[in-house]
């Protein structure tokens, strides 16, 4: 099996709802092992793009390949196989409300139907510990959790199968700044550890600068630039000027420059 150069390869993507065109001739590639952040204003179709990569909705035209297999034209089995290799953190968590926290995380592992129960138990407890929850929390119902805890459980579930590719949709939205920093640190550490690829959708500039290897900016119905954060900042486009170089953006940049210069070197 020849290793594909890209983990995700999107070419000529077109999405339209009626006469409203969201994406037109959009292309985006994700390298193995990197953390790629997708940013864009509201309504530029970030979530739609994510859903299309996940095979939840179909684009009008264009091709999407993940791990070299086509999501848009692949057979059911192909898609099935793909889905065991990725994990997704949905924006609102999407925990199964009928199951306890423990069962939520254990579900993908149990679905394999071959792992011994005590191994599943330890793996789930480890995942819970990774995201800063206790075994006690495992017995809770999703409806008893706070927003931040839902996020963390959802991350634990996304990582349950040790995926090679992780999608994070607004991972730090709804977390307080301390928790948010911890969460970012957690993702970075797990990323270093397990070497998975991360596709991140976020509005949070702190998260963006702390994590991203590359940033893809969605505007005018396609990816206007996809490069390292520094290069994106130097790119001349009105959206980038307002998004990154506004008051908030500058603050996040300064914080990252002082804190991250020592710690966060480029690999």
């Amino acid at each position: 099996m020849a290793e594909a150069p890209w983990i995700i390869d999107i070419r000529g993507l077109r999405t339209a709802f009626g006469s409203h065109v969201v994406h037109d001739n959009l292309s985006l590639q994700v390298r193995k092992g990197e953390i790629l952040t997708i940013v864009g204003g509201s309504g530029t179709g970030k979530t739609v793009l994510l859903r299309q990569i996940l095979g939840l909705s179909r684009p009008a035209a264009g091709s999407i390949k993940v791990f070299g297999a086509s999501v848009t034209q692949g057979s059911r089995q192909d898609l099935e196989q793909l889905r065991q290799r990725w994990g997704v953190l949905f924006q609102s968590g999407a925990l199964f409300s009928a199951l306890s926290v423990f069962d939520n995380i254990a579900l993908p592992l149990r679905e394999l139907r071959t792992l011994p129960a005590d191994l599943i138990r330890d793996v789930v407890l480890t995942r819970l510990a990774w995201v800063g929850l206790t075994a006690d929390d495992g017995n809770k119902r999703p409806s008893d959790l706070s927003g931040g805890m839902v996020k963390r459980v959802a991350l634990a579930r996304a990582l349950a199968l040790d995926p090679e590719l992780v999608f994070l949709d607004e991972p730090t939205a709804g977390l307080d700044p301390t928790r948010s920093d911890e969460f970012v640190e957690l993702i970075r550490r797990l990323h270093q550890q397990n070497g998975f690829t991360v596709v991140l959708v976020t509005h949070d500039l702190d998260t963006l600068f702390a994590l991203s290897d590359r940033v893809a900016v969605l505007a005018e119905r396609h990816v206007i630039v996809c490069a390292t954060p520094q290069e994106v900042l130097e790119f001349d486009h009105p959206f980038i000027q307002t998004f990154f170089l506004g008051e908030r953006g500058r603050r996040a940049l300064e914080a990252e420059a002082t804190a991250g210069s020592a710690v966060h070197g480029k690999p």
Binding site: A98, R113, L115, L119, D122, T126, W130
Partner: protein, 372 residues
């Protein structure tokens, strides 16, 4: 996927045994049936003081690491050679020492408690229903005092939804029941040469009992469940909270229009079901008993007193009230999770059909005692 290559290599030749691990120790590698168990057994053969060599492992992920960690008794062996990433992986495991999950609290006398809970649950339901009924009466009073502020548009939309859209199914079911009933009674009546009494039989049975009950059961299944599910989803999506915060009463904006609409639509649906059921009966009488439709209609006028008609009509309104109240009551009790939504909708349909039949029985006794 499954390789026959040895993944656990025990070497007992040296002074102390060494264990060398090879191949992939990842979730996909462990996923085939029995693989995890086999490897665990192989690992268990290692001596406690064995030296471990993990450098020949091709891929290690956290599930594989967990398996090794388990077999080592949750600590790193003293003599081990491994890569820095693997060491970091085990460090992460060591750092998050597992607390065993607390045993789920088990209650003695759980069965007795369940019975008690069920009894109190019933009282709770009845009290809640009465509260809703009271609120509804107050809102109705308010509607009469200030009719221009009533939710008329919503009521009319609901009448269309629970009434007009139910015309098809009630017509079909009513007609078929009329045919079946008339067909069976025709056979019996012919034996006694009392064919003409089929009009009395069908007329009273359908107008007084079957029409209202049939229509009520169909509407309970159709609209009762829809109302419960709709209110339940509004709870899940916090729309109910949003209304409360705006100071808009649930009783006025959600419950009142639905119950009033059902009370308006149900008598009309009863009338419609009656008509179709009698039409079915008339058809069978014409074919089977050679009673002409014109004669049938004339005889019907004498057979069914106006009291019977009003009883059926009034029962329609009463059943509408019951279905609406029970459906809204269950909808408002739904908790924000999917399981509760499913359970609540089922309970709502069961409760509203039961309450309709119960009310019908009470009506039958009361009206016959009154001599109507």
């Amino acid at each position: 996927m499954q390789s026959d290559a040895q993944t656990v290599i025990l070497d007992r030749s040296g002074q102390a045994a060494t264990v060398r691990l090879a191949g992939a120790w990842t979730l996909p590698a462990l996923a085939p049936r029995g693989e995890a168990r086999q490897r665990r057994q192989a690992l268990a053969q290692a001596r406690a003081d064995a030296a471990w060599d993990l450098t020949t492992i091709e891929r290690l992920d956290s599930v594989g690491a967990q398996l090794l960690w388990q077999s080592w008794g949750r600590r790193l062996p003293e003599r081990i050679t491994l890569s820095p990433t693997a060491r970091d992986m085990f460090a992460l495991l060591a750092e998050n020492a597992l607390q065993p999950p607390p045993p789920p609290a088990r209650e003695s006398w759980a069965a007795v408690r369940r019975v008690g809970d069920a009894v109190f649950g019933i009282f709770d339901h009845i009290r809640d229903l009465l509260v809703w009924f009271g609120l509804l009466l107050l809102e109705l009073l308010g509607l009469l005092l200030r009719p221009h502020r009533g939710p008329w548009r919503e009521i009319s939309a609901q009448v269309y939804r629970v009434g007009a859209q139910a015309l098809g199914i009630t017509a079909l079911v009513g007609f078929l029941i009329g045919v079946v009933l008339s067909y069976l009674s025709a056979q019996q009546l012919q034996l006694f040469g009392a064919s003409v009494y089929i009009v009395n039989l069908l007329g009273v049975a359908i107008v007084r009992e079957l029409g209202p009950v049939l229509a009520a059961i169909l509407v309970a299944g159709r609209s009762g469940s829809a109302i419960t599910a709709q209110l339940g989803v509004m709870r899940v999506t916090q729309e109910l909270d949003a209304l409360s915060v705006m100071g808009i009463s649930h009783a006025q904006r959600l419950v009142l229009p639905r119950v009033v609409a059902l009370m308006i639509a149900m008598p009309l649906l009863v009338l419609w079901t009656d008509a179709l059921a009698l039409a079915g009966g008339m058809l069978v009488s014409a074919v089977d008993l050679q009673l002409s439709p014109a004669w049938f209609i004339n005889a019907l006028r004498d057979a069914v007193s106006i009291t019977n008609f009003w009883i059926g009509f009034g029962k329609g309104a009463l059943f509408g009230l019951l279905i609406g109240l029970v459906a809204c009551h269950h909808g408002m009790r739904i908790e924000p999770n999917t399981e509760s939504l499913g359970r609540g909708t089922t309970a709502s349909v069961v409760a509203s059909i039961t309450s309709v039949i119960l009310a019908d029985a009470v009506c039958a006794v009361v009206f016959s005692e009154l001599g109507w």
